[in-house]
Amino acid sequence: MQSDIRKWFMKKHDKGNGNAAKPEKPNTATSQPETSPPAAASPDKPVHESGEGSGRRKTSKYFATDSQKPKDEKEIECTPAKRKTEKSREELNCDVKPPSAKRVHKGDEDEDFVLPSLKKNSAKDTPTKKLKSGSGKGIAQKSVDSDESDEEVPDDKTVKSPFKAAGRGAGGRGAAAAPAGGRGRGGGRGGFMNFGERKDPPHKGEKEIPEGAPDCLAGLTFVISGTLDSLEREEAEDLIKRHGGRVTGSVSKKTNYLLADEDIGGRKSTKAKELGTAFLTEDGLFDLIRASKPAKPPVREEPKKKTADKAVESLPKRSPKKVERKDQGGSALARKVGPTNSASGVSLAKQNGQTVGHSLTWTEKYRPKLPNDIIGNQSLVKQLHDWLANWNEQFLHTAKKGKGKKQNDGGAKKAVLISGTPGIGKTTSAKVVSQMLGFQAIEVNASDNRGKADAKIFKGIGGSTANSVKELVSNEALSANLDRSKHSKTVLIMDEVDGMSAGDRGGVADLIASIKISKIPIICICNDRYSQKLKSLVNYCLVLTFRKPTKQQMAKRLLQIANNEGLQVNEIALEELAERVNGDMRMALNQLQYMSLSMSVIKYDDIRNRLLNSAKDEDISPFTAVDKLFGFNGGKLRMDERIDLSMSDPDLVPLIIQENYINYVPSFAGKDDNGIKRMNLLARAAESIADGDIINVQIRRYRQWQLSQTSSFASCIIPAALLHGRRETLEQGERNFNRFGGWLGKNSTVGKNLRLLEDVHAHLLASREYNSDRETLRVDYFTLLLKRLTEPLQTLSKDEAVQNVVELMDAYSINQDDFDTIVELSKFQGHRNPLDGIPPAVKAALTKAYKQGSSLRVVRSADLITLPGIKKAPKKRVAAMLEPVEDTLAEEDDDALAESEEENSSDTEDMENIDKQLKMDFQSNSSKGIQVKLDLKNTGNSNAKKTPANNSKESSQSGQKKGGRGSGAAAKRKR
């Protein structure tokens, strides 16, 4: 099957060659890569000389397309000396300029795009001069390479430093490229999004990724399908883009190749077959790239003199030049501009730089002047334009002329609310449009105080902006009314309305009021129209939601600007930039300007590297983090990546790890017949997780936040490092995904149960029969209590059982909730439910009996009684009071209670009522067994409106207790 596909691929591929006329030479090379050495020899040879070593090759290739190209060529074609004039001119420039260049550089120009080249010229000149005698062009080129490698720091000195440094520089660059690639592989952005959908490439990272001419894939469009052999999809995309190709999501007629290593028969491949698109394997892609450029890293020193010359002669005719021509076809303009700029541009740049470039940032400099310049959202801009153009007619004239016909357009709003992400030109559009229509724009933004206008100062005498806004809005009414003829039209732009906060009290409300009375159009601008603050404002405004411009649109505009500034960038790179900044034009321009400071030629890779950091700041869900840490490749992650992952949510990740670490079969253990290795690793991991817990206590309790990394190390990284590997299921029917950390739920259940237990404990304490602590209650008492409470119900006859149980409950003042708690806390998974075997009739009888008894029951429980009529729970809760057996002591007790109650809340009348009531109760109630009757019912009645729960009147005489109990339960529920 596989081979079949391959064959098919090959056939298609050949066909593709026929179709795609352009990259002939590469194609010939690909179709018979190593089989025909003679054929390959000729392209190979020049390759040897033109650039050696992959790193150097790359740079030299860059070189070929860069603005230095002329120079390169110039050097290369030294012998032919075709462009002698130009060369001499340039050399002249170089010779003359260095000092000035340096000066200019020190002046920190904004647009020193000429500078690097200048300097390079000068720098190069010196070495070439020195070298001309000794070595040949090859070495001269080497020095050029060093230039390139040092392009970030265009410092003359480094360039002038000896060759070895240069060589090393090139090597260093090569080395630097590798980790970058590695990063792409490991933490490829978006990679996690597709986790589970796509497998890892089978031979990941095993193949050497070829270097090719930078634009060898220019004009080609690729679609990637399925899993590739060695590259992650992102890497492949990257590779293609780096070489000037385009990657799209779906197959269309324009697609040149479908990149796939296996035929998964998906939609893409069927479509491609339909359209006859060529299939390309990953190897094919590599060959394609490789063919565009010297394949082997040859020996360096050998081809020095004549070979070098020869090569130089042959080289220009061959691929590089052709490629250049080809791709420069696309950006011919840029290319043309390039040389002229660098030749004549020194003076020009100086002027430019000194006059314009100084003061303005590009974002200001290239701010659109006309509505048509605005990128994207054209229809919205048009809408804005129409609205503003019709504003006066709509609101002023109708208002003036007949009142009956006021606002013929019902949907018309007096203000506009523009919303959209930053940097997509909201403010700009507002300004440009109003400017075009001849309105005078007054901008009020977050830098001004926009609080509610002081109502007392009428018509804005005060200095605050708010007042002046009011003044403006209403004054315009005046002016509009008085001299219409003048047409001094004004528009108010309220920028950043969602930023109206703390200082701007009543800002939005005031703004709405202003809109209502306004005689001038108001344009409000915000970032998030769904913001809570703007909810009311939205009703008064016509809402225009700006969208992000597409990357193509942005790239187009960016290219214009880059060309204006003499910056050499290709469109693919700019598209990448547009994508990276997430549609923020302003940010794109800022980035571009910043990059222009250090380089005059911007490649795809530069943008990638520079903006890598911003791409990295994506949210990683804790699950993804755990997946990554525990995954097969978990062992290959760098330490900082692991820390990043585990710190992505320092609370949740450890919990998820703890929940799931048992499920992983560590690849670390290797062959492990009896599982002892895994068990040992588990024990170590468990200990480490426990360590994490201890450290966490230190962090939280003693605020040792510097330990947070140690904590994530102990609780996440070590367990993951020990156990990463395959996940297996431990339970039948479990899905093979990481579970959410169970600790949180269990902990909250524990907390709830502890509270319930505390309630039972309090009741038992209040019964005065019990005096131990909570722990003892659960550990020692519960077994027996449960037995005493449930066993009779199962064995004895109904009446007897109920009586028995109720007696016990009364003795310990256990109420029905407590009963449930006791049963609940004694349930064990896999054990018999203690309530099993109790007939429902008995249960019902028990409830009934208990409730009946409640009329006679004293307030035994310390249920914290909410005092009716007092909204807030009293600080000191009134507790029930237990009556001693001796009658004589009743008085004393009574006093004590009254005393304490008065103490508690003597300031409320209700309390006094209660006190009186209590005393009365005590006096009337001299019987021995019955103790205090807290007549809460009465107080409840006195406040019946407020506490409807208490107004069961029929029980007011006998069921006093019940009332108290009810409210007690309510109190508990509240808790």
């Binding site: 703890q658 048992i662 600790w743 309090a762 209040a766 602590d773 077994t783 000191k876």
Partner: protein, 354 residues
Amino acid sequence: MLWVDKYRPKSLDKMLVHEEVAKNLKKLVTEQDCPHLLFYGPSGSGKKTLIMAVLRQMFGAGAEKVKLENKTWKINAGSRTIDLELTMLSSTHHVELNPSDAGFQDRYIVQEIIKEMAKNRPIDTKGKKGYKVLVLNEVDKLSREAQHSLRRTMEKYSASCRLILCCNSSSKVTEAVRSRCLNVRINAPKEDEIISVLEFIGKKEGLQLPPGFAARIAAQSNRSLRRAILSFETCRVQQYPFTNNQVILPMDWEQYISEIASDIMQEQSPKRLFLVRGKLYELLINCIPPVIILKRLLSELLKKLDAELKHEVCHWAAYYEHRMRLGQKAIFHIEAFVAKFMSIYKAFLIATFG
């Protein structure tokens, strides 16, 4: 009413065990001035009973008229105010509370609340005693800071207030506090003492005790009188005419732990570890204190273990218990112990049986 509470001696004269201690205490109290007291000893030995009896001796029946209060205290701790909720049992003469309930904020209880209560002289109607009594439970669970603040209070307000401290282990009470109290060690009652108590109860309840039955209960009670009486009554509920070979059931949770232990011994695998985790959670949810779980688990495991592994396993249990006290999430530590045990035991099994 349960027998434990029904037959709890109410006065110092009626003590069945610790008669000597009771006699001394009575003397101490009747001779007017009573120092601060620190009762310590294992649970189920009768500390609380003694304390209640002492209070009764001091204040008469008034000490038994307790009410339960749940108070919220506002405490000014520097920059912020803290709300503390505390349950206390109080009579006119004494207040009983459990300061360690407040967790790591127990310091404030000692500093503010206890101090405040200690400051106020009781309004003593009968003029019997010029002081009131504060009973503090579980003093050994107080944090170090709280104990430090306690010692100053003890000295400063000793004129108006006596403290009675109660704890299991005096080693966790600081030297300073201990030296300010009269330490009263309450031993766990001996087995024959327990037997005599059980027989006393049996006689009062009119039960026929088969010979040796009480001894069996006593042996299983781990010398905790409370537990002995409770399981005595459990047996009574279970089956009355006692038979000589009647099984004395352990507590429900003990039963569960021994199931866990046999699970662990049967198989040592990740799957089993996962199962055990679930069961441990079950215990924790039922409010069994983690320390007790670990202790019980160890003793269950030791029962079935070969002698040569016992040392090592005990070492690890102690190791993880210590760490559990340092940490917060008990389950992690118990699970780590189980994992460790599994790995040790598995290695041992492989080494012995291949």
